[in-house]
Amino acid sequence: MTSREAQVVSTPQSADPPRPRGRLAEVVARLTYPFRRGAAPAKQPATGFYTDTTVCIGCKACEVACKQWNQLPADGFNWSGNSYDNTGELSASSLRHVKFIEQFADVLPPPPSPNGRMSLDVLPAEPPPANRWLMMSDVCKHCAAAPCQQACPTGAILYNEFANVYIQRDICNGCAYCVAACPFGVITRSHFDGHTHKCTLCYDRQKDGLVPACAKACPTASIQFGPVEELRERARQRVEELHSRAVPGAYLYGDSPTETYTELNSFYLLVDRPATYGLPEAPFNPWIHMTGDYVRAVLSGLGAMGGLLAVFLVMGQ
C-alpha cells in the first residue's frame, strides 16, 4: 500500500530541449516562441475546490503549503490589525488568503469609544446565533466562464484539461487586463517578473495525480479537492446536514450559475452574506455588455464621422 506521493518519484523526469546557441538564434527563438504550439492534452473531468468555511480553523497551512510548493516569495511583514489576517489580499505571491471575521455581541455594557474606532467587531447581516469568529480560505474561483480568460489577449490564460483556469507563465506578458477583468480581485501582477499569477490549482501536481498543496495540507478538510460534480454533491449534503443541526444560515456560494455569472469550480460554503467575506454579492461577468458597448462605440464613431462627412459634403461643394 503505497501512496501516490511515493509512486510519483519513479516517473522519469523529461529534460528541456537544448537551448538555442548564439545571440541571433536566441532572438529568433524568443520571437517565434509564442507561435509554437504544444499538443493539447485529452480532456479530463473538471476538478475544483470546495471550501467549507464552517470547519476552517484559520491555521493558514494552505497559505504556507502553497508558498512552499510553488516557491512563492514572502510579500511583506505588515501587521494589519484586521483580526489575524496579515496577508491582506490574494496576490501574485499569495495565492491563498485566509480571512478572519470577528462577530461578537456585547458582554458588558458597551464602553464609550475614544475616537469612534472600536474593536474588531464586524456586524453580521442578521444577529448571529452566537458569538462567532468566521474564517475562510480564499482562492481563485476557477470560474466556469472566467472573465480573466476572456480578457487575456495573448491566450496565456486557458482552460487546461481539468477545466481549471491556468495562466501560462511562459506566455503572459503582463498586460494586466485579467487583473481588471476579475470580479473577485484574485489576480495581481508581480513586481518581480511583471507577469500575473494566481492559483494554478497545482496543475503540475494534478498532472502527476497529486492533490493540490493547500487541499492536501488542510488539517480539517475545510479545503476539499476533487471532481467538481462530486464536490457539489458533497457540499449540498453538508448544507442540508448543517440546516438540520441548527445552522440555518449555511448556503453555497458559486455552486450553480446565476443570471449574471457562471458557476465557480472553486466554491464555498458560507454562513453569512457574501460581502461579509469580501465576496461580491452578485458577481457579474463584464462580457455580458461587450457587444452592446461595441455597438455604442461604433455608432458614436460613425455618427461623428457622418457629421463630419455631412459638413464636408454640404459645405465643401
Partner: protein, 902 residues
C-alpha cells in the same frame, strides 16, 4: 508528569490522538488545540462531524473556541475552581459511573483517620510545615488506613521537585488496604471527596471564574450525558494547565473527573495531554532531566538509603505492581552505561551515578547562574534568552558564564544575547565566551521522535547537512570521544565513569543516503546503534547475523543479574531484531489502531489502562465502546490494541496473600503501575502539594482566594525573589490586569524555528496584545495603538488588538480585565518585538518546578515603552532559495520561481 501519574500510574497521555474521533464529547481546557496542534485538532473535528459536542473553556476565545460548540470564558488560573464545580456536580447529582468507580478506583479505600482535609484546615492539608513550605505526607497521614508510619518513604530531596516514578506510584505496606464498598465509611475516599468538593457550588465557581453559575451545570450535564456504558467523553489539555503553580493539581482534577465518569482506558475517553515539542515526551522518557534516570528511575540522592544499589532498590522499589521489577531496570541501565566495568561485585557501579542533593532544574539553575555560580553551559536547541521565564534574568545568567556552547540552526537570542539584547550592557562588558555549533535539521539526520501519544517515530536522513552543520548526536559523540582522550590514562577514581562509559557508535561502512550516495560526513555516529542500546541487549550473547550482542524483544526479558543491558527500559522492544527498527515501521492495516505504524511505549500499547474498557468480568461495557475484552476461549485478552495488562491473566484472578509484583494485581485492576491496581481519586502519594486538588490563586493575581481566604496561593510554591525577579503577590492592586500568554499557529515558541522564516513571519509579523474593548476604553487605547504592558519584572511594548475575544469578566462583583500575550517575539530574527517571556516571573510549582506563564499580574498603559526597542537582526528574505531544481525541465520548475524561462 505527576498530574497524570498520581491518578493513573504513568505520566503520559492515556490515549492517542486518533481515538479522539471516537468521543461523544470533548472538553478542551488549558489547551488551544486548533492553534497549537492544528493537525491533532483534526480528530476532535472528526468527532464533531460524527455528532460529538466540543467544549472549550479558556480565558480567550481562540481559534479553538471558534470551532467548538460551546465556549465558556473563565479567568486565567481559575481552572481548579471550575473543575471542582464539575466534580461537585457529578457527586451531588450522583451521576458518577457506579460500577466503574467501585471496581477500578480507590473510592472505597479507607484513608488514615489522622488525615485532615483542606476543608478542615482553611486551605491546607495536614502535615504542612510553614517554615519550609512543604508537606510531610507521613505526618499528615495521607496514607491509606493501616499503612501508618510504616508506609515506605521515598528519598526526599528537600523542597525540590522530582519526576521520579516514586511520585507516581508510591509505596505502601504489604497489607491490603481496607475498603468499604458501601462507601459510607466517613474516611473512605468517596466521602473525603464529597466533603472536599462540596464547597465548589455553581455560585462560588461563577464568582471565582467569572462565568455564569449555569455554565457549571451545563457542562457537567453534558459530560455526564456523554459518559457511561454507551458513551465516552475525553479531556484535552496542554500547557494552559501545566504552566501554573497549581498545574499538577489541575490535571489531577481532570483525572478525578474522568475516573468518576468512567472515561479512562476506554475508546473516546481518557485525558489527552498535548505536548508542545516534537520529542518533549521522549526527552522526559529518556530523560534529559536532572532528577531522573532513563525510564523514570529516580536519580540517587545522598540519602542513606541510596548508599548501595540494594538499599536504593529497597527504598525506591515497590513490591506490588509492575514497579516490582525495579532492580532489573536499574541494573540493565548501569550495564548499558558502564559496560564490563559494571559487575555484581562492584554494585554495577551504582556509586558512579552522580547524587542529586538539591534542585538543579532549569529555573533554579538559571537563578544560580545569575548569581555567578555556574562556569559553563550547553544549549541544545533551546533558547532561554528568549523563551525562558523572566527571560531578562536568564540573559543576566548567560552573561555571568565563563563559556557557553549553543548548538542551533539560527542565531537565536541565546546566541546573540551579548551583542543584540537592546536592554543588555554593551558587548565589551560581557565576558562570556560563546561557541556556536551549527546544527543539522531533522531531514539531515536519522533519529527518533516520541510524540504526544508516546509514539516513537523514526525520521530518516534524506541528505547531508550543509558545510559544518552537524547533528547533535555527532557533536555529543565527538565531544565525548575528545573528553575520553583528554582523560585517557587517568587513574583518578572520579574519572573512571567517563573512561568506562560505553561509547562506540561508529558506522561500519559509510552511511548510505536514500538516493544511493554515500554521506560526506564519514564520522557520523550510527544512530541505530544508539537506539539499539536504548532497546537493550543480552550482554555477551552474540547475534551471529551482526556480530553484536543479541537484542532484547521487550522489557519482559530484562534481568537484574547483569546479563542484560538496556538504556531505557520503557522503550525496550523498539528494536527487537537487528533489521527491525519498529520506530521506522510504517505498515498500515484494517485495524483502526494501526499498531504497526511506529512503536508506542510501553510495549506498543496505544491506549493505556485499556483493561478498563471491559467491565470487571472482562466483557465490553457496551458494543459501541468495545476495545479490549477477555476471550474466554483463547484464555487471553483480545482487541485491536495490545492489552495494557498481563495478556493471559483472567478477570477472575485474585492475588494470594502476600503476593508480590504483578501477581499482586487482581484480574479486575486495570491500573497496573499502581501498587493497588486502582485509579486514584485520592492520591496518598504522588503529589507534593496535596492528595486532592484545591483552588489557589496564581502567585500573582489581583483577586484573593475566594474559596480559602486564608490561603491565597499554593502553600508549596517556590519563588526566587530578588532584584531581577520581583513578585507582585496575590492579591495585588498595583497590577490589576490578569495576563495570560498564548501560542499562535503561525509561530513556534520564542521563535527560533519561526522568526527566521519569512513564510511564517509575514503571517504574524508583530507583537500584539489582545484586550477587551472595556479595558481599552478605560485606558483610552484605540485598536492598533502602541501600548506598554508592565509587570513587576519589566515592561514591553506591543500593538493593541482590541477584541471581544478576550472577555473582561465579572469576578466576585467587580470587573477583572484580562489580556492575552503571544510569546513568540524577542530581539533576534527577521521580525522582532516585545517579549512576553520578559514579563513573566521565575516561580516554581513544587512537583515539577514549572513556572506560571499562563497567569500573572500586569498593568496596561497607552503609548510606547520608553526603553530601547529591538531592531531585526536579519534582513527579510523573500525566497528561501532561488536555485532552480536540478535535473528538472522548465515545465516542472515551481510556478513561483518568477524567472524568465522560455
Amino acid at each position: 508528569m505527576p498530574g497524570l501519574g498520581a491518578s493513573f500510574g504513568r505520566g503520559a497521555a492515556t490515549t492517542f490522538q486518533q481515538d479522539l474521533a471516537n468521543s461523544d464529547c470533548i472538553l478542551i481546557m488549558g489547551s488551544n488545540m486548533a492553534e497549537a496542534h492544528p493537525v491533532g485538532f483534526r480528530w476532535p473535528m472528526k468527532a464533531k462531524a460524527k455528532g460529538a459536542t466540543l467544549v472549550h473553556i479558556d480565558p480567550r476565545f481562540s481559534r479553538t473556541s471558534a470551532l467548538c460548540d460551546i465556549y465558556i470564558g473563565i479567568r486565567a488560573g481559575s481552572d481548579i475552581a471550575f473543575l471542582g464545580g464539575l466534580i461537585n456536580h457529578v457527586l451531588t447529582h450522583d451521576k458518577w459511573f457506579k460500577e466503574f468507580v467501585l471496581a477500578y478506583t480507590n473510592a472505597a479505600t479507607i484513608v488514615d483517620e489522622g488525615f485532615r482535609d483542606a476543608e478542615d484546615l482553611g486551605g491546607l492539608f495536614s502535615g504542612f510545615h510553614p517554615e519550609s513550605g512543604t508537606y510531610n505526607a507521613n505526618e499528615g497521614k495521607w496514607a491509606y488506613e493501616g499503612e501508618g508510619e510504616d508506609g515506605q518513604t521515598k528519598a526526599a530531596h528537600g523542597k525540590e521537585g522530582t519526576h521520579g516514578y516514586g511520585l507516581e506510584g508510591g509505596g505502601r505496606a504489604e497489607d491490603r488496604p481496607h475498603r468499604d464498598p458501601t462507601l459510607w465509611h466517613p474516611h473512605c475516599v468517596m466521602q473525603i471527596l464529597r466533603r472536599h468538593f462540596a464547597r465548589y457550588t455553581p455560585e462560588v465557581v461563577a464568582r471565582v471564574c467569572g462565568c455564569a453559575p449555569d455554565d457549571v451545570g451545563r457542562i457537567a450535564d453534558l459530560l455526564c450525558a456523554n459518559s457511561g456504558r454507551e458513551r465516552t467523553s475525553a479531556i484535552v489539555y496542554a500547557v494552559g494547565w501545566t504552566q501554573h503553580t497549581t498545574g499538577v493539581q489541575m490535571i489531577r482534577a481532570a483525572g478525578i473527573l474522568q475516573l468518576l465518569l468512567g472515561n479512562v482506558g476506554r475508546p473516546g475517553g481518557g485525558i489527552m495531554a498535548m505536548r508542545g515539542h516534537s520529542s518533549i515526551q521522549g526527552s522526559t522518557d529518556v530523560s534529559t532531566l536532572y532528577d531522573l534516570l532513563p525510564g523514570y528511575l529516580p536519580q540517587p540522592t545522598p540519602d542513606e538509603g541510596h548508599d548501595t544499589l540494594e538499599s536504593y532498590v529497597k527504598k525506591e522499589g515497590i513490591p506490588t505492581g509492575y514497579w516490582a521489577n525495579f532492580s532489573k531496570f536499574v541494573v540493565s541501565l548501569l550495564k548499558a552505561w558502564y559496560g564490563d566495568a559494571a559487575a555484581a561485585e562492584n554494585d554495577y557501579r551504582f556509586g558512579w551515578v552522580p547524587r542529586v542533593d538539591g534542585d538543579y532544574s532549569h529555573l533554579p539553575t538559571m537563578d544560580r547562574m545569575a548569581r555567578g555560580e555556574m562556569t559553563g553551559y550547553f544549549l541544545f536547541g533551546q533558547n532561554p534568552a528568549g523563551g525562558g521565564m523572566n527571560a531578562g534574568l536568564q540573559r543576566a545568567g548567560l552573561r555571568k558564564l565563563d563559556w557557553l556552547v549553543v548548538a542551533d540552526w539560527f542565531e537565536t537570542e541565546s546566541a546573540v544575547f551579548w551583542k543584540d539584547d537592546p536592554n543588555g550592557p554593551p558587548a565589551a562588558e560581557v565576558g562570556t565566551e560563546v561557541f556556536f555549533i551549527p546544527a543539522a535539521t531533522s531531514p539531515e539526520k536519522d533519529g527518533t521522535l516520541t510524540n504526544t501519544q508516546r509514539l516513537l517515530q523514526w525520521h530518516n536522513k534524506a541528505m547531508d547537512p550543509p558545510d559544518d552543520c552537524r547533528s547533535d548526536t555527532w557533536f555529543v559523540y565527538h565531544l565525548g570521544k575528545r573528553l575520553k582522550d583528554l582523560y585517557a590514562g587517568s587513574t583518578d577514581p572520579k574519572d573512571q565513569p567517563l573512561l568506562n562509559l560505553t561509547w562506540d557508535y561508529e558506522h561500519g561502512a559509510g552511511h548510505r543516503l536514500p538516493d544511493g550516495t554515500v554521506s560526506c560526513i564519514r564520522d557520523e555516529p550510527d544512530v541505530e546503534l544508539v537506539l539499539q542500546e536504548i532497546n537493550g541487549y543480552r550482554v555477551g550473547e552474540i547475534d551471529p547475523r551482526t556480530g553484536r550482542p543479541r537484542l532484547l524483544k521487550g522489557f519482559s526479558e530484562l534481568k537484574a543479574d547483569g546479563s542484560t543491558a538496556c538504556g531505557c527500559w520503557i522503550y525496550s522492544g523498539v528494536f527487537p531484531e537487528p533489521d527491525r527498527n519498529r520506530a521506522n515501521e510504517r505498515k498500515l492495516s484494517d485495524n483502526p489502531v494501526q499498531p504497526e505504524w511506529g512503536f508506542a511505549w510501553p510495549h506498543n500499547r496505544r491506549m493505556l489502562y485499556n483493561r478498563a474498557s471491559a467491565d470487571p468480568e472482562g466483557r465490553p461495557w457496551s458494543d459501541r465502546k468495545k476495545y479490549i475484552w477477555w476471550d474466554a476461549e483463547k484464555a487471553r485478552w483480545d482487541g485491536p490494541d495490545e492489552p495494557d495488562f498481563e495478556p493471559t491473566k483472567p478477570p477472575g484472578y485474585r492475588p494470594p496473600d502476600g503476593a508480590k509484583g504483578m501477581a499482586a494485581i487482581a484480574g479486575d485492576q486495570p491500573f497496573i503501575m499502581k501498587p493497588d491496581g486502582l485509579g486514584w481519586l485520592f492520591a496518598p502519594k504522588g503529589a507534593k502539594d496535596g492528595p486532592l486538588p484545591t483552588h489557589y490563586e496564581p502567585v500573582e493575581s489581583p483577586v484573593g482566594n475566594l474559596l480559602y481566604p486564608r490561603q491565597p496561593t499554593s502553600p508549596t510554591v517556590r519563588t526566587f525573589e530578588g532584584p531581577l525577579n520581583r513578585i507582585a503577590h496575590t492579591p495585588t492592586a498595583e497590577f490589576p490586569v490578569v495576563a495570560t500568554t498564548f501560542r499562535l499557529t503561525e509561530h513556534y515558541l520564542s521563535g527560533p524555528m519561526s522568526r527566521f522564516n519569512s513564510w511564517l513571519n509575514e503571517l504574524q509579523p508583530e507583537m500584539f496584545v489582545e484586550m477587551s474593548p472595556e479595558l481599552a476604553a478605560e485606558r483610552a487605547i484605540t485598536h492598533g495603538d502602541w501600548v506598554t504592558v508592565r509587570s513587576a519584572r519589566t515592561a514591553i511594548e506591543c500593538r493593541a488588538m482590541v477584541t471581544r475575544r478576550v472577555p473582561s469578566l465579572l469576578v466576585d462583583g467587580r470587573v477583572v480585565h484580562q489580556i492575552g500575550l503571544p510569546f513568540h517575539w524577542a530581539f533576534a530574527g527577521e521580525v522582532v518585538g516585545g517579549n512576553a517571556n520578559d514579563l513573566t516571573a521565575l516561580v516554581a510549582e513544587v512537583n515539577v518546578s514549572m513556572h506560571e506563564g499562563k497567569a500573572f499580574a500586569c498593568q496596561v498603559e497607552r503609548g510606547r515603552h520608553d526603553g530601547r526597542q529591538p531592531s531585526p537582526t536579519k534582513h527579510p528574505v523573500a525566497w528561501p532559495t532561488r536555485d532552480p531544481i536540478p535535473n528538472t525541465p522548465a515545465a516542472a520548475q515551481p510556478e513561483g520561481g518568477f524567472t524568465h524561462d522560455e
